[in-house]
Amino acid sequence: MNDESKKYIGKNVLRFEDDRLLSGKGVYTSDLNFPDQLHLCFLRSDTAHGKIRSINKDKAEKLKGIYGIFTHEDFKDVPPIKSPSRMKNYYATNQNILCVDKVRYVGEPIAVIVADNRYIAEDAIELVDVEIENLEPVINVKDSIKSNSAILHNEIKSNTILERTFNKGDIQFKRDEKILSVKNNFSMTRKSPVSMETRSYVCNIDKINDALTLYSSSQVPGVIKDALCQFLKIPGNKLNVVAPDVGGGFGGKASLYPEEIITVLLCQKFKRPIKWISDRFEDLMSTSQGFEEIMEVELFFKSSGEFIGLFGNIFGDVGSYSIYPWTAALEPMQVAGFLQGPYKIDNFNVNVKCVVTNKPPTGPYRGVGRPAAVFAIERLIDIASKKLKIDPAKLRLQNMIDKKDFPYKIGSGIVWDKAGFKNCLKSALKIIKYKKFKKINNKNNKNWIGIGIASYGELTGIGSKISVAPGMPLNTGTETGIIEIDATGSISATFGIASHGQGLETTLAQIIAEMLGAKIEDIKINQGNTSFIKHGTGTYASRSAAIAGSVAIKSSKKLKQQIIKIASHIFETNKKNIHVNEGFIFEKNTNKKISFHELARAVYSDMETLPIKLRKPLIALETYDPIFGATTTATHIAVVEIDSETYKIKIRDYVVSEDCGKVINPMIVDGQVHGGVAQGIGAALYEELRYDESGQLQTATLADYLLPTTCEVPNIKIEHIEKFLPDNLGKFKGMGEGGTIGSVAAIANAVSNAISHLNIEITELPISRDKLYNLIKSGAK
């Protein structure tokens, strides 16, 4: 008999989530209704920057079906949300759950209406008179940092709430004539994560125990529970946060929101269930936004093509507040942190300013900082390759960190290790048949063809030594996993993660089935519920499969040892002779076998088979911390075709060669890549939250904020490189964000390549058709 258990890791196991979701039986927060529940609606600021002169709610309060209208006056005891950081030169902002005196962005909650239903609550909003005295709106970063700019937070006295310079090597190196450089200003505009399920919260009260349960469409129920307990002084055993089925997140549901706190407060106040479901309009203007960066960067190199320096200034538009718990450092610092990419560059000097403006707070959005960083460096490399007359693929390979260089510390201090940088690039070039694109000359063609490459490195599955957001004093590096066999022999496995589309109910079951020797269908994964586990955070930062997957291995091994010990007693044999597979325990070379059910009976129910000392519950509880992170990498290559008459940009071909370590479920990994690339296509070509000079959102519906549809996302070829395994237990690397990280730059390079005969470089994204038209017409360079 084979010693090994049935293999599940690396197999396309179909998802356990699918049956309920396909039949409309998924339970999302908005699907929950409790008897006597009341509904909330928020009155939001229609002014970007102003002083609240008065709020008159008399008329609205008289409306039938209204239970109360509350402003900051009613929540005076609740402290403002303040996101701490260990970073120097950082000023935390005070974000009140409802505006006090001042409004700082269009969409900021001023008052909350409690009503029988949302329809009536919206009627009431119309009847509340809010008088706001306009202050000068601060909309652009470059205006915001001017000394004469209006100040958003008077107590901070500056709109730059964080500044840091990253230095490495000789920053004064001689710029003699042999040293060449390319310099450019790149910018990305604001995006919204746009999960199809909007943010939603329902808080229920258990009046007997005076305990609350908040159902939240959150990616981070653990973070939310700890924060609410701290902010509202609720004992941890009186509040449970549950993330049921969650309809996507992409970072937008990974922060603490005022609406979430208010839902809990009003449930406490009314002692009735309270429900708030965001509509799309609110979601586009109040869910955390991302990607708005200006990057003024210069790459220095020798005439041989060898990179020698990367200098720059990053200006991050963080919106009006430093978001909890990630802080305003999150996105702009990661732009600098990952700017160098997978390349050897000895001299690095990048300054980062995080600047507040009268727009909604920014927070995590898939890729966080790296889509912008990769856009800047990969565009610079293409521009450098033109100057050097060296093929862009060759120039990348020449400068890429080789396996013999590992571990390699880049200028920002991040360490790359065990990653197939060159393997991914070479693989992608081969799949796309790169050579055939060298002959392309678009000058006399109606359709312009272009090819673009982007390679990147990212840090995933990060342990406790590194903050997921720079300076954030919150441990995101550990996961606890509890695996239990109950008296019936069925298996429950519980984690602190919060799956919202990643299929973790399936992938974690695959790992446990293989490691424990269990039948996969006997395993139930519990997650997204803070009552299950003493400390957990959730699912974000490409961490769950890597860290929870690793702790699943650790707990499975521990439990298996217990099973083997018991079985060896039952079979009266040495532990070495025990084999566990597919829910049965065997004695090798005999026909003896028992099921998990029979084993559980021996442990829990039958008082004769086992001595008392072996009748301990079948539970393994382990915690795992990878300490550092794993280097994930990929190369994306896009081929685009631009219609020279309509400027329509079509993606003709797309390749991703990626290294995410050991693949748990190829189908799910591919799905993450496909979805990530689709969001990158949106960021590169269509999606833009446009704010006018007064701070009004011009793209507040999905008819204006354009998401890619079936017609804009091409078929994508994916190759997995599994040669470079990281140090964590499972040898897994995170890969949920990579699709977005690589695609933005690959498409920008492909579009630039397609119009290279016009001598135009793409420096601002998204490059929509009208922007491309204007760029070409103006001949701007």
Binding site: L14, R118, Y119, G671, T709
Partner: protein, 167 residues
Amino acid sequence: MELHNSENKLNIKFKLNNKFVEKKVEPRLLLSDFLRNNCGLTGTHVGCEHGICGACTILFNGNPIRSCLMLAAQVKNSHIVTIEGVANKDEYKDLRQALKKHHALQCGYCTPGFFITIISLLNEKVNYSETDIRKKLSGNICRCTGYTGIILAVSEVIKKRYTKEIS
């Protein structure tokens, strides 16, 4: 959800997933809210409430429509089919299998809307090409999958079902 101005309520009779239903509704109540809150059919999801995302797609007299763009009062004497009405039908077993096999859903929020759009496409009984399928499904937004699995699944079902009839 009980609405307040009960004096204005309209009486509607209609067929919902093959069963006759009679309800009183306020004139302004959206069909999507009515199905979810008054009929308890939460499989119909609300993604934008302005007719772009397609998550709330249902069949209205056999045609796919956005339930967020209709009022409950408008369904009088009609036949409405929601995801709950087709979820267990053997007729679509091949589609459900293909969607699972090709990993055509992740968070699942857009899935019921896609499912309804896809079955009305299947009911056309035409051997559509991938390009046609992409056009036909472009009114539903999925933010997770990049559509790859959806297109593969639908192409496979259409090919299996309708290739013979054409050739």
